[in-house]
Structure formats: C-alpha cells, structure tokens
C-alpha cells in the first residue's frame, strides 16, 4: 500500500457505534415487519375482501381534439358530441347474453361487438372498453332506460369531429379512425387504449400528438353489480392544441370548384414563404363517413372508383411532368452554355435519332425555333436536340437542384420522391445501361421522369423567386387552448439553385409568352389584370399508335399546368394536373387561371364581378413524342 492511514484515537468508539447502528437497523426492520404483520395478518380478512370487490373504477373522459383552422383563423374542423357504449369486463355477469342484448338494442351485428370486446383483452378488467360508437340519441336514451338489464355497461359522451365544410380539403385534413391492434402494439401509440380515435391520414395523422389532447378521468365507486354510486375524484381532460394551417379557405374552395369533378390535383403556394395556400386532390371523400360506422356501399364505392377518391394525388400521385419539365431542360442548356437566347434550330415536325423517329406534337413543324418560341409553342424537337447534347445526367443535375426527385418534407406522411433518372439510377434499378435514345423523352418530361404535384409547385415557385427552394409547408402555427403559441413555422430555405440571373430572365420571358403572346399554348389561363407566366404540359399514359379518334378515358394523356403571378413581383405559384385531361393548355390551364383569379380577387387586386371578356385563344395542345418505329434505341 502506498500510504498508511493514521489510525485515529477513537477507534474504540467506532466499534461501539457499529453496534449502535446495527441495533437501529434491526429496530427499523422490526417496525416494517410489524406493519406487514398488521396488514397481512391482522387486517388480512378486510383487505382480501376489498381486493375481491375492488369498487373503485376509472372512467376515462376523452379530451376534445384540437381544432384545425385555416390561415385566417376560419374553422376547417372542430368537434361535436357523440355517444358510445362501453363495457367494464369485470362488472359483466354474463358476457354472451350482454352481447346479444346490445346487438338487439343497437341493431348491430353480434360479431362486430364481440370482435371489439376481444380486442381489449390484456388490459385492466376494470377499464371501460368501447364496443359501439356513434350511437344515436334515441338509442342512448333507450339504453339508459334499460340499465338494469345491462350490468357492466357504461354510456360515454365524447366529442367527435365536425366537418364544417363537408368534404373540403378532405385529403389534406385526413380522417379519424379507431386505433388498430397493430397501432396499439407500436411504440408510437403506446399511450393509447383500444377504442381511442386517432388521425389516420393527412394533418390529423401527422399532427396527432398535438391535436389529441390529454384525456382526463373520473374515479368512481360502484356497487357490487358495477353500477355507479358516486364520483370519488375527477381529473379534467385538456383539449388538444389548435393547428393553424397555411391554407386559405376561400382559395381552397375556389381551387376545388375550379377542378370540379375532374380527377386530378392542384397545389397553390406562396412563392416567398413556401406556405401552401391550396391543396386539392380530386375526387374527394367525406371524412365524416369514417367517424361513425361507414355504410358498406359507400366504402365499396370509394374502393371501386377508377379515379381513386381516397388517394392524395397532390402528395402521392407521381406523374410524368411532360412539357412543364422543359423549363428544367432549358435551364440546363443555358447554364451549361449549350444554348443562348438566340440559338435556333429547325423543327420539321419530327426528329430522327438512330432508326427511331421522335415526333413533335405539331406534326407540321415549328420551323425556325429559338428559346422563347420553344417555350411559348412548346416545341418538342428543340428539346429533343437539346437533351441529346446535354445527356441525361446533366439534365438530372439541374432537376435535382430544383428539389425534384426527393421528398420535400411538407409535413405529411408518405410523401413520394418521384424519379429523376440518371445513368447510375437505371443501372441500379434495372441492372441495364442507359441508352442515349432514352435521353430524348427525358428532355420533354417523359420516359422515366416522375414528379408529384407538390414538387411541380415547388419547382415553378423556385423559378418565380429566382433560385430559393423553400420548404412547402402546411402548418403555420400550433396554439394551445390558452392561446399560447407553441410552435411557429417560419419559412425554411431548403437550398439555393445558384444559377446565373440571366438564365432566369430568359426562361421567365418564355413562360410569360406561353400565356400572353399569340401562338402561346397557355392562352386560356390569361388574366387581364395581372401578368401570369406559366407552362403547359401533357404527359403520356400509354403509347398510342393513333392519337386521333375516341380514346378510352383511362388511356388519355394527363394535362398539366404550372404558373406563377404576378410576373414582375411573383407572389403565388400554382401547379395543376388533370388526370386524362389530354391537353395542358385547355384542361389544366383554365383551372390554374381560376385559382389565380380567386387569389387576386381575395387580395382586392381584381374586382369580383368581372365581365367575361377573356377571348378564346387558339387551343394549345401539344402531343407527345411517339416513335414511329419500334426503334432499338428506345428500348
């Protein structure tokens, strides 16, 4: 040992004190033992009785869910009371008979009640288990009158969702549903109980933890048959937080009306903040159907509709961007120095590459085409030639700089990434090398290219603000029930494209011409009061040898349109897709026009009763590249 401790003179006292401490410890343990003796031997009988007839019950009081508001505080979703039936397994004398009675009184299927009952196994037996929800007031009163025959049954009042605006923004808001068994077993819903309602899609799901609130409860004493005697204590439930969206209710309505009963999607976004002002997927559904019991025929209708009403097309729909992608190809060409604003090519209506022929949508040809004309009239040949010189990887480089090919993180679940093909991507995905003939369709947004409507809105917004990619987002702030702001979402810059200012100037002039000059493909969406710039597109669903005549709905091309306005000082960007709408200019363009009109009417820039003075431009429809021969290069 390296050092000797000096042994101090009172070591004798140390030994004595150890004995003292030992005696103290023994005394304490004796005290514990006496108490155990008192509880387990002397009071045992009484406490055994209490444990067998444990008469304290816990009745949960569901917290009202937080409301969802639009950007101006207008209510999108709030609550209304609803009644549900719960059983307390411990108080039920005869399970089978009770299920029969309930099925009879509530006019429900026996197995339905039984399934819900069995789902709650493994939970405390004194804890109420919801077996039927959304019962009517009459049924509720009937059950109350027959309480004596229904021992162990509780009727609970809980707030449910009230959809003030019907099916408005249903994909965005999402619907509620009972928490499933799988969800109960996951970490995310560990605090939940069977019968709880949770957000199943949209904002309701993504913001569940904020909206849900804290459930309260009442401690009640019951008699031997499980009937309520008195409330022993109560803890209040606290309402969930209010989520204020960036959506503008009026613009959302206008956008939904503009799309009408056409299948598709529309996204409007603030160019300077990334706030999404309207978010439409069509056709929509009625979220109220999901709150109570869904009529089977409604469910069947939702599932069988070929236009997929339950799918959020704005977020998860992946479409070839078609000619709207020419913006990216043009930017790539300008930045790489392959073209300038004066470079011209000759369009004869088609372009031969190898032994394949790629057609321009205008079979007559555009003649001499420069950059502005190529955008205005959406000349395909110009972009075939440019794409050929750029190569697929250089196109991808610029597409990715604009945030395409990756989810943007808008704050909803299962956002799709889309596809921006590269040589490496194809090798990984298909194990085959890239053929140069595949690059040509990429130049006009066909081939492997896939984008979502949200991505297209973000892309055109980035063009409008000249290089700042803002995260498109849907939630403006979260406020608690006292009005205290919990979270405030400031604009978030995802990246900068870092392009030359001239590049934007040339492209934007082209986009302005699309809508405002003769021969422009987007004339149908012109506003006289505000300068709009944009780009039409249509994307091929299947390759058709003959594009004339009556094509079945599901084979028709998708119509796309992206736009921003005002041209001089952009505020709003819009992306519209009309599924199987065929021509961007005629199907998607007017939708975009109506959205922009509603936006500027809301701002007072355009006076509301507008005389119908928009003259009909020549229909700008552009076809799709389509090889005449089954060329080897096309693969």
């Amino acid at each position: 040992m390296k050092k000797l401790n000096n042994i101090l003179p009172d070591d004798d006292g140390g030994g004595r004190r150890i004995i003292g401490l030992s005696l103290g410890a023994c005394a304490m343990f004796f005290l514990l033992l006496s108490r155990l003796w008192y509880l387990q031997v002397i009071s045992a009988e009484d406490l055994i009785d209490q444990s067998e007839n444990n008469r304290l019950r816990f009745v949960p009081v569901a917290a009202p869910r937080g409301a969802i508001l639009d950007r101006n505080g207008k209510v999108l979703v709030s609550n209304t009371p609803s009644f549900s039936v719960a059983v307390i397994p411990q108080d039920v004398k005869n399970k089978e008979q009770l299920i029969d009675n309930l099925a009879h009184y509530l006019n429900l299927d026996r197995t339905e009640i039984e399934t819900k009952w069995n789902k709650g196994q493994g939970r405390a037996k004194y804890y109420p288990l919801v077996v039927a929800s959304g019962i009517t007031r009459d049924q509720m009163e009937f059950l109350e009158e027959n309480r004596l025959a229904l021992s162990g049954v509780n009727i609970e009042m809980k707030p449910i969702r009230a959809y003030t605006n019907g099916s408005l923004a249903s994909h965005l808001l999402g619907y509620l549903g009972e928490v499933s068994e799988d969800e109960l077993n996951s970490e995310r819903y560990r605090e939940y109980n069977a019968g709880d309602y949770i957000g199943k899609s949209g904002i309701e799901r993504a913001w569940e933890s904020y909206l849900h609130g804290t459930d309260g409860g009442r401690q009640i004493e019951v008699d031997a048959r499980g009937r309520f005697l008195r409330t022993v204590a109560e803890t209040g439930s606290s309402v969930g937080n209010t989520v204020m969206l960036t959506i503008d209710l009026d613009l959302q309505k206008a956008a939904e009306q503009a799309l009408g009963d056409q299948a598709g999607a529309a996204v409007a976004m603030d160019v300077n903040t990334g706030e999404i002002l309207a978010f439409v997927s069509s056709p929509d559904f009625d979220p109220a159907h999901f709150t109570g019991r869904m009529p089977p025929e409604v469910w069947k209708k939702y599932l069988e509709d070929e236009r997929h009403p339950l799918e959020n097309k704005a977020l998860k729909g992946m479409y070839p961007p078609g000619s709207t992608f020419k913006i990216i190809t043009a930017i790539a060409g300008l930045e790489e120095g392959l073209i300038d604003e004066h470079t011209t090519i000759q369009c004869t209506g088609s372009y031969k590459f190898g032994n394949a022929t790629f057609r321009c949508w205008d079979h007559k040809g555009h003649g001499s085409v420069d950059l502005k004309k190529s955008l205005r009239e959406s000349c395909d040949v110009y972009y075939y030639k440019l794409a050929e010189r750029l190569g697929v990887d250089r196109i991808a480089k610029y597409a990715k700089r604009f945030g395409l090919g990756a989810p943007l993180g808008i704050g909803l679940e299962n956002e799709k990434a889309g596809v921006i093909p590269t040589q490496e991507w194809k090798l990984k995905r298909f194990g085959k090398k890239w053929y140069s003939g595949e690059t040509l369709p990429v130049g006009i947004g066909q081939g492997y290219v896939l984008t979502t409507p949200v991505q297209l809105a973000s892309m055109i917004s980035t063009v409008a603000n000249e290089g700042t990619i803002l995260r498109p987002h849907l939630v403006k702030r979260v406020v608690d029930s006292d009005g205290k702001v919990l979270q405030d979402f400031a604009p978030q810059v995802l990246g900068k494209t870092g392009l030359k200012p001239a590049t934007y100037r040339f492209v934007k002039e082209g986009l302005l011409a699309v809508i405002n000059e003769a021969h422009g493909t987007g004339g149908a969406s012109r506003l006289w009061e505000v300068k709009v710039a944009g780009k039409t597109g249509s994307s091929q669903v299947v390759k058709l040898r003959d594009s004339k005549g009556n094509i079945p709905y599901r084979f028709r091309d998708h119509a796309l349109f992206v736009a921003f306005a005002p041209f001089e000082k952009p505020e709003i960007a819009v992306a519209v897709i009309v599924e199987h709408g065929e021509h961007g200019g005629s199907a998607a363009g007017p939708v975009s026009g109506k959205i922009l009109r509603a936006y500027f009417e809301g701002k007072g820039v355009i006076k509301k009763p507008v005389p119908k003075s928009v003259p009909k431009e020549e229909e700008g429809g552009e076809g799709v590249a389509e090889p005449d021969t089954t060329g080897a290069a096309q693969q």
Partner: protein, 366 residues
C-alpha cells in the same frame, strides 16, 4: 500484482445474498409485467441484462484497491457537482423535472452517482480528521456544507427523493463518526425553522401534495393517495401465505401503479404473503448487518467509513421503498435495491456492493 489472498478472502456470502435477492426480483418482475402489452424486450429480460452489466461493474470496482478512491474522492465530488449545475442550466426536462443531461451518445442523471460520491467524500474528509468525544457544532459546519451544496442542487431539479437519500446517507455517516449531544440538540432546534422555510420556498406543489396525501390518502384517491390505498390492499390481501405466483389480482388487474418498478414489492407481498415478506426482510437485514460487520472488521478508518456509507445507502433505499409500499411513508420515487426494475438503481447498488466486497477482501492487508 493481484494477491492470491484476495481471492481466498473473497466475500462469497455477500455476493450470494445479493444474487439471491436479484433472482427474487427477476421472478417478481416477470409476474408484475405479465399483464402489460408486450412491446419490445420483456422487462424481466432487460432486468437480467442490467444485472449482468451491474455485476461486471461490481467486479471491476472490487478489483481495484479501494484506497485509490481516497485520492480521487474530492475530484469526483467536484466533477459531479459541476454536472449537477449543468443539469440545472442545460438539462433535459421530462415530466416537469430536469434530471438528465445529454452527453451526446447517452443521457445521464448526475444525482444518482452523487449518492456514491458523497460517501467517498465524507469518508475521505473524516479519515484524516481527529475526533474526540464526537463532533462539535463548529466542526459540523464544513461537512454540512459538503452535503448541503449538492442536496440543494438536487432538490432544485426537483428530485426530493434523491435529495433526502443523499442527506440520510451523509447523516448516518456523521452519526458513525460521532456527534456531541449538544450539537445534535442545536441542530434539531435549527431544523424546525429550516423545514418551515423549505416548505415555503423549496418544495414544489406536487411534492407538498404528496405529503398531504400521505397524511390523509383519502384526499386524493385518484392521484398518489390512490396508489397508497391500492398498494395497501395488495399487500394486505396477500395474507399469510400469499395468493401464489402470477395470481395477485391487484397486480394482474393492474390496480397498482408502476408495479414493476417502485411498487414491485407490493406485487411480491400480494403473491407471496407474510412468509415471503419475512424471507425478503431477513435477506435485506442480513445484507445490512453484514455490511456493518465489514465496516467493523476493516482496519483503516477510510474503509470503515466507506462501508458504513454504502450500507447506509442500501438501508435507506430499502426502508423508504418498503415504508412507501406498506403505507408508512409518502410516495417518493425510490426503488428497492436489486429488486425493482431499473438500470440506474441496479448500477448504483452494484457499485456499492463492489465497494463492500473490495473492503471485505482486503481486510487482512495491513
């Protein structure tokens, strides 16, 4: 370097008793958590992992000569004190209390090591300090400051349970060193106004509520009062022979709160009855008396003080936890050493046992 005498003198009895208690603990956790929804690794298995990790630490601690601790005691004290301040400045807040700090890869709760560090610090302080007929009031100033600073910091988090435990451990060590009756009397006289001030300014509302509830559980049968009532029903309904393993209705129907952690003993009492409790109490009392025996047999003062401190730490955990479960003490979150589920408690307790084993096997080295 590693003396063979160390191995022959290894205290197998102490280790055996500890392992026996942990075995009962694992069996009990298995029953207590059987009604839980199964998510991930079951608790009893996780507890086994913690026992293995704890044993590893325990054997590491006892393989190094405990006299080294004397050199490091003050450094450790200073280090943990800095961490305690850091917790208050930049800690993570969960459930209204700030007890954790993030060290990047893992989170730590510095109030827990303080329990061991205060023992080392006091042992170091008094090992060189000549005491005649007990400490006078003046001599108490320094040690009370050494205790007071961390105790107040811990109470500020707020973690009343740990603050009380640290104070009780240090207080027991002071009693072992010896305090004059005159000093004790004065402290007692000063304690009354201190308690009043603490009640006014230091205690949080929820802590006050717990004390009220303890005095009268019917005040809040839904909150912590409810826990005491249900725990008493569980313990009492176990009667003499218990309801049998996995047969406790109070626990299987989930009337008990935190039944695998702080209230694990009430599950045990319900299922194994008075006889089972008698066995557990005997094991724990044996552990305590054995620890004090190690202190007595130790030839140097530092070792003696360390052994008394570690034994006091185990003792107070046991008494407070059991007292809470059977309704003798208010509900403070104190686990039962080696028995309740939980890694933090297991690690601290095992390090303590490592120190005891260390002192025990080196008793003939002088």
């Amino acid at each position: 370097m590693f003396d063979r005498r160390l191995f022959t003198n290894f205290d197998w009895t102490l280790l055996g008793v500890v392992l026996l208690i942990t075995a009962f603990g694992v069996i009990n956790i298995y029953s207590a958590s059987s009604s839980y929804r199964d998510i991930g690794t079951p608790y009893y298995l996780k507890q086994l992992y913690w026992i293995v990790a704890g044993l590893g630490l325990c054997l590491t601690v006892c393989s190094l000569d405990y006299h080294m601790l004397e050199d490091f005691a003050y450094w450790l004290y200073g280090g943990v004190l800095v961490l305690l301040v850091l917790v208050l400045v930049a800690g993570k807040t969960t459930m209204g209390a700030t007890r954790w700090i993030s060290l990047g890869f893992f989170n730590m709760q510095p109030s827990e090591p303080m329990k061991i560090v205060i023992i080392m610090t006091f042992a170091r302080f008094f090992s060189r300090y000549p005491v005649f007929k007990g400490l006078t009031l003046r001599e108490l100033v320094q040690p009370l400051l050494l205790l007071g600073i961390p105790a107040v910091l811990i109470m500020k988090q707020p973690d009343l349970g740990t603050a009380i435990l640290v104070s009780l451990i240090a207080g027991t060590m002071l009693l072992f060193v010896g305090v004059r009756f005159s000093a004790l009397g004065t402290i007692f006289a000063a304690a009354v106004p201190t308690v009043v001030i603490a009640w006014q300014f230091l205690l949080h509302d929820y802590q006050k509520k717990r004390i009220y509830n303890f005095l009268n559980p019917d005040l809040d049968p839904l909150g912590s009062g409810y826990h005491i009532i249900q725990s008493k029903i569980a313990v009492g309904s176990g009667a003499t022979f218990g309801k049998g393993f996995m047969q406790g209705t109070q626990s299987q129907l989930r009337f008990l709160p935190e039944q695998h952690t702080d209230f694990a003993f009430s599950v045990f009492a319900e299922e194994w009855g008075f006889l089972g409790c008698l066995l557990m109490l005997t094991l724990y009392l044996f552990l305590i008396l054995w620890g004090l025996g190690i202190a007595k047999r130790c030839n140097d003062r530092f070792g003696s003080l360390l052994a008394v401190g570690v034994t006091a730490m185990l003792f107070w955990h046991i008494v407070i936890n059991m007292g809470m479960v059977i309704g003798l003490m208010p509900v403070v979150g104190v686990p039962l050493p080696f028995f309740s589920y939980g890694g933090t408690s297991m690690v601290t307790s095992m390090v303590g046992v490592g120190i005891l084993l260390n002192i025990s096997m080196r008793r003939f080295m002088f």
